[in-house]
Symmetry: C2
Subunit: 109 residues, 2 copies
């Protein structure tokens, strides 16, 4: 079956949906908050801060990296994760615009 018609939608809607998807699991929101709090770019010990297995956390980190909301730079033996503020701000703006365009009026039936 086809199972992916996402490409037929406007690029802006695809982007917004992709960012929303990145935020669509509480673990990933928790990771972002953790990264924002411990401003020092802490390594994969994020695992200790998130109540999930190491592999699962790595997987969530990968989803965030794919969305480019975070970066993971190698620093010798350790890996240094941090929020990619450029993309993060791009996302904020996209959502702001979206929320402005969708201005609901309760005029149902």
């Amino acid at each position: 079956m086809i199972s992916n018609k996402s490409e037929i939608f406007p690029a802006e809607q695809q982007l917004a949906a992709a960012y929303a998807k990145a935020l669509s699991h509480p673990a990933r929101i928790a990771i972002l908050r953790y990264l924002a709090e411990t401003k020092v770019c802490i390594t994969g010990d994020i695992t200790d801060a998130i109540p999930l297995g190491r592999t699962t956390v790595l997987q969530h980190l990968q989803v965030l990296k794919d969305s480019e909301l975070i970066r993971g730079d190698i620093d010798g033996k350790r890996v240094c994760y941090c929020i990619n503020s450029e993309r993060y701000n791009e996302m904020k703006q996209l959502f702001d615009e979206l929320f402005e365009n969708i201005n609901p009026i309760n005029n149902c039936c």
Copy 2:
């Protein structure tokens, strides 16, 4: 296997993730925009406005209804979908708070 540990996260993060999930497909963003534009609470002819099969659109509408971002009231033969502005504004505020709490500083490695 377990496959759902979402409940172990703070309620606020679960809610934000749930709303993000509702927005995580371009078709659903397109539906919200369509409902916001045609301020009249248009029926399931949303199908004509979205390039997907009728069943698929219904499914997306169901996801949005489950998230309570939209309502679907029966009006005789037709069904009248519209944005639930209460929930919609709740979501906006939740995201605003989230974005405030996660304030990135580029201090990676």
